[in-house]
Symmetry: D4
C-alpha cells in the first residue's frame, strides 16, 4: 500500500531529493509531495497569474493564494507529514503545515537540529516523532513497512 | 496523482470545455466534474423521473432533488472546487457550491469579473484563490503540479 | 433553554426588528444575532480599522475581513439559521451563510418570495424549512417550543 | 453573549493587559485566556512538577507537556483566536496556535508589524483578519458586537 | 451538571410525563425535550404555517419540515437520547432519531417490549443500553449521577 | 469514476438484482453493496459463528453483531445510499441505514410506495431524493453521470 | 471559567477524594466526574436494572451497558481527562477512557507509577502530560489557571 | 473491493499468520496491517534510530514514537480493526488501538478467551463483534463478502 508523504519545511538545500533517493534505494512505496521549492517562483507566482499588484504587501498576499492552494491540496492527500526546520529564516510556513498536521490527525515527523530544541519545544512535544536528520525520518517510514 | 476538480458555476458558455482542453494540452492529471450543463434538462429532470407535478413550485422542487444529488456526490469526491460567477443570473447554486467547499475544507478557486468584486467580496475573502478567468484558474492548478 | 438564531440575509428593511418583537410578544427564549445592518458601515469597516486601501477592490477585501469575522463568530454560536432573500441585489452573502448552515448541520429556515422560487430551488430543496415571510419563520420557531 | 478570546503570541510586552483594559473600557463581554506569560515559569514548569530531568532537552520536553496542556484546554474553549507576532524570537508557539485555529474553524485575527509581511504571508493569507496593532484587533472584536 | 435528554418515540401514552415525574421525585437535574406529542398538531403544522397544500403528500411533506426542524434543534442539544418503541405503528421517526444518535456519538437508551426484540435487533445491538420500561431508563440515568 | 452504492432495505424480492441489471445495461460504473439477503442466514449467522446462545434474545443479539459489522463496513465505503421500504415488516434496519446516511452526509435516495407516504414523511423530507420504484432510483444515478 | 475533569482509572483507593480536596484548597473551579467507584455496585448494576441474566457473561455485558452509559455521558462533557493506572488489575477501562480522550482531542493527563513505564509506554507517549501522583496532576491543572 | 484490516493485539503467537492463511484459502480480498511483531525490535527501535537515551524511561518513550507512528498510519487506513487479547501481559496497546477504533467509527472485532470476559466487559460491550478465536473473526469478515 502506497503512502503519501508531505515534505514541509525549508527549501534551502536538497533534503527532499535525498529523502526520495533513500526511499527508492529501500524500495519503499512512498509518494512525496511538498511546497514549491524554487523560492523566486514561489514569491512571484501571484503576479505571474494575476498580474502586477499595487505594492509588495499585495504581491505577497497574492503569491500566498497559490502557495496555500498547493499546500492545502497535497496536505489533504497526505498520510504522514515530515517538517524540517533549520537555522535560517523563521519558517512560519513549516510551523503552519506541521501544526495543521497535528490538528487534523495526520502523524507528524519533526526534523530539527539540536540547536532548535528550545524554541521548537512545544511543537516537538506534540509531534509523533522528533529526529535530527532526514535519514532518521526515512528510517522511521521504513519501520512502518517492516 | 490524479485530482478531482468540481466546476461549479454558470452554464451559459463553454468555459468548462476550455478548461478541459487546457488541462489536456498541459498534460495535467485532472478529472473534471460539475452540474448538468443542459439548462432545460436540469429544469425538467424531476418530472422526467417522477412524472408531472401539481405546479411549477413542485416541478422546481423535484428537479432540485436530482440536481442536488448529482452535485453532492461529485462535491464529496472533489479535491478542489472552482466556482465561476458571471454577470447574468443570480447564480445561487454557484454560491452554494462555493460555500459548501469553504465549510468542508475543500480549497476554493473563485473566478469572477471585476464588475462583481463588490457583491462577491465576502465570498472572495474566504476563497483560497480569486482570479478573473478560467485560464488563470487552470494556471493555478498547473502550479500545484509544478 | 435559550436558542441562538442567526438572521442571515438582506439588510434593506426592518425584518429582523419585526422578528425580535414577535419573539418577545410570544415570550420565546431566543437570542438573535446577524450581520452588520448598517450598509455603509459594513462597506467602510475595513478602512475604518486598517486605514485607506490602494483601490476599491482592496477596500472591499478589507471590509470583508471584518464582516466575515463577525458572521463566523455568530454562526458558530447559532442553533438555527434563518436566511431571507428578497428581490433586490444578488445577496451572495445570504447564500453563503445559508449554505454554510447546510454544510455544518445547523437547521436552516429559508424565507423567499414566490418570485424567487426558481432561482433558489436547489438551496430551498436542502433547507430544513421554506417559508415566505418572517412571521412564518417565527411561527416555526414557536413550534419548536410548544 | 460572552465570547472567549485566546491571546496567542509573544509574551515580551504587556499587549494582553492593554487589550483587556480596552475591552473593559468599551464594556465588551470578552473573557481572555492565553499562555503562561512569565517566561521563566513556563520554562521551569516541567521540573517544578516532575522534578529534575536528565538534560536540558528533557527539561524542555517536560515543560512543554504542561504548556501544551494549558494551551489546548483554553484553545478548545475559545470562540476566536488572536495571534500577535513581533520582531523578536521565532515564535513557533504563536504559529502553532494560529495554525490550529485555522484547522479547527476558529476565526483567527493576526497581528503583525509591516516588517513581518513577507515571512508571514502564507499564514496571513489564511487568517480571517490581519492587522498591525492590538488596538485594531480590539476594534475588530468591538465590531462583532455592534 | 444538568443533562438534556431527548425523548424520541411513540406519542400514544404519557410515558414522557411519567419519566419527568420520576426524575423530579429523585431530584435529578434533567431537562427533557422531544417531538410534538399532539398527533393532530404534528400532522397539520405544515398547513397551519404555510397554508393549504395541493394534496396529502405535500401536506405531509410540509408538516415534516417543521417536525424535523424541532427534532433537529433539540437532538443537537441533547446529551443522551431515549427512544421508546411500542407495538403500534411503524415508528420510523423513532428509528430515525435513535439512529442519528448512534451516528453522532450521543448515547442511546432503547426501550422496547420483549415482543419487538427480533425486528429491532440490529438497532438494539448498537444502542448503549436496552431496557423494557421507562422506569428502567430513568434508573439508568439516575445511575449516571450516583 | 466508479461510485459505491449501498442498497439498504427489504430483502423480500429481487429489486437489488433488477437495479444491477439496469446499471449494467446502461453501462454505469456502479458497485453495489448491501445487507445479507438470505433472511435465514442473517438470522442464524450469530450462532453459526459463536455457537448456540441461551435464548432467542441472545441469538438475535449475536446475529446482529455480524449483520451490523457488514452494514457498517459497506456503509462507510458508500458514496450514495438507496433505501427501499415496502408494505411488509417494520424494516427498522432500513430506517437505521437511511438515517445514518443522513447523519454522515451521504446522499440518500428513498424508494417507497405511495401508501407509505404518511408514516415515512419525516424521513422522506430529509432524504436527497424520494421516488417510488427502483427504476427511478437508477435513473437518478444515471443522471449523475450524464 | 469552570472546567470539567473526568477521572478515569482505578477505584481501589481514595485518589479522587484527594484530588477534590486539593482542588478545593487551591480554590480551583473544577468539576470532577468519573466512573462508579463502588466496585460491587458497578458489577451488579445491570441485573439491578434489568433483572437476573442467564449467566455471568451476560451479567457482565448488561452491567457494562450502564457503566458505559455513565462514562460516555461524562466523557462527552469533559474538558480534560485524568487517567490513573496502578499495579493491580488490568484496568482496561482506564485504557479505554484514556484512548478515547486521545482520539477525540481531549487533553489527557496520565498518572502511573514508575513500575508501569514499560507496559504503558505507547499510551504515555501520546498523552499530553505524564506524571506519577495525583498531586502532580492537580498541579498541572492549577498551572492552567495561573 | 479490497478491505484493509488492522490486527491489533498480542504478538506472542502466530495468530496473524493464521488469519492471513485462512483469508487466502477463502480468497478474501483482505490486506492485513499491524504493529511490529518482533518484540525486541519494537523495544529497541527508538535507540536504533535516535541513538542511546539517558535511561530506560527515555528509551521506552523514544521507541513509542516510532511504534505509534506505525500504528497511527495503518489505523488511519483501516476499514476494520481486529484486537486480540490473551492471558499474558497487560496489553494496553491493544486496548488503545481497540478504543481508538471505537472513537473513530471503525468497526471493531474483539477476540478474547472466556477467562477475560470480566476485565474486558466494558470494551466488549462497545465492540461491534466479540468472538473467542481468530477463526471466528475471519468468519465474520467472510460474512461481510457473502
Amino acid at each position: 500500500m502506497e503512502l503519501v508523504v508531505y515534505l514541509a519545511g525549508q527549501i534551502h538545500d536538497d533534503w527532499r531529493e535525498q529523502l526520495k533517493q533513500l526511499a527508492e534505494q529501500k524500495g519503499l512505496p512512498l509518494v512525496f509531495k511538498g511546497p514549491q521549492e524554487d523560492h523566486d517562483r514561489s514569491d512571484e507566482i501571484g503576479e505571474a497569474i494575476k498580474g502586477t499588484q499595487p505594492s509588495s504587501i499585495y504581491r505577497d498576499h497574492t503569491a500566498s493564494e497559490f502557495n496555500n492552494l498547493r499546500t492545502r491540496i497535497w496536505m489533504n492527500k497526505a498520510d504522514v507529514v515530515i517538517a524540517q526546520f533549520g537555522e535560517k529564516y523563521r519558517q512560519w510556513n513549516s510551523a503552519m503545515d506541521a501544526s495543521i498536521a497535528l490538528a487534523t490527525g495526520k502523524p507528524l515527523i519533526l526534523i530539527r537540529p539540536e540547536s532548535l530544541v528550545h524554541p521548537l519545544k512545544e511543537l516537538a512535544q506534540r509531534a509523533q516523532c522528533v529526529v535530527e536528520t532526514p535519514e532518521q525520518a526515512l528510517e522511521a517510514l521504513a519501520y512502518v513497512f517492516e
